[in-house]
Amino acid sequence: MNIQSLIGMASIIAAGLTMAIGSIGPALGEGRAVAQALSSIAQQPDEANTITRTLFVGLAMIESTAIYCFVITMILLFANPFWDFAITQAAN
């Protein structure tokens, strides 16, 4: 197995693992946050505006961890520096 196939295989497996593991945590966190916000709105409907705004900002915070994983995956798949290095080395 040459170096390109090794790098390609490792990148694809790592990308899949990054998305899989990286989305579990934010999914659980967002579920908890939304459930808590819904029960808070049910208890205090007058505060729905504040709760909703805080919820959105909080959800964006939680979601950004998943987004970081997604960006890493995109880098691994489409802009992999090691892959470019291997290709230029093979060309020489």
């Binding site: 705004r53 805080t54 900002v57 964006a60 950004s64 997604f70 960006v71 489409f78």
Partner: protein, 243 residues
Amino acid sequence: MQFNPDDIIFWQYGFIRINASLIFTWLVMTLIVGMSIFATRRLSSNTEMTSWQNFLEVTVTGIRDQIQEVSQQPPGRYLPFIGSLFLFIAVSNLLSIVPGYKPPTSSLSTTTALAICVFVAVPFYGVVESGIMGYLRQYLQPTFFMLPFNVIGEFSRTLALAVRLYGNIMSGTVIVAILLGFAPFFFPILIQLLGLLTGIIQAYIFAVLAMVYIASATAAHEPNLNNTTDSLDHPCGIHEEEL
């Protein structure tokens, strides 16, 4: 696949290159400024007004109310900066349903520039509010040993601001491109609809977070002046360190 609008180059002379991000940023700027000029040409102060003026008044009043609620301070000083951020990001995300348009916010350069604007604006508003020493003193809160963490937090939240906006908008583009490959009939439209929602929410979140950061830099010295602090001093009810 061409995901990055920075790579689409229209014109190049030496190291100066005009790429798609620049072109579409200019397009969005012209659109916002042109529509505002068009709408404010014939302003009226009585109840007879054009629908354009009505639309602009609703927008500006809404932004003012949001700033007021988030920062618990008079919104006038922050309105130009926060309002421009929100309107620019919202318009450049919403236009992504126009065919051929690539949102400039799906390039990391644009979002980094916006985040650096926030990074510069936070000390600016802080120094204007409480003086240089007063602003610098809050890096020593609660103790002297927190100084490195406060400084790191300043940089990491700027990075997070840039990557969050970039990742959200870019992911919409990428998912549509991938879905076009194997389910080209119906699903890309749904994802684009979701992208519109995400675009507005991300613009809102970018503006609110910028406001929260600025408010935490300007409101930090108020508890020393009057000891009547309550939970209102924490904008959004979220602790600033968490952000």
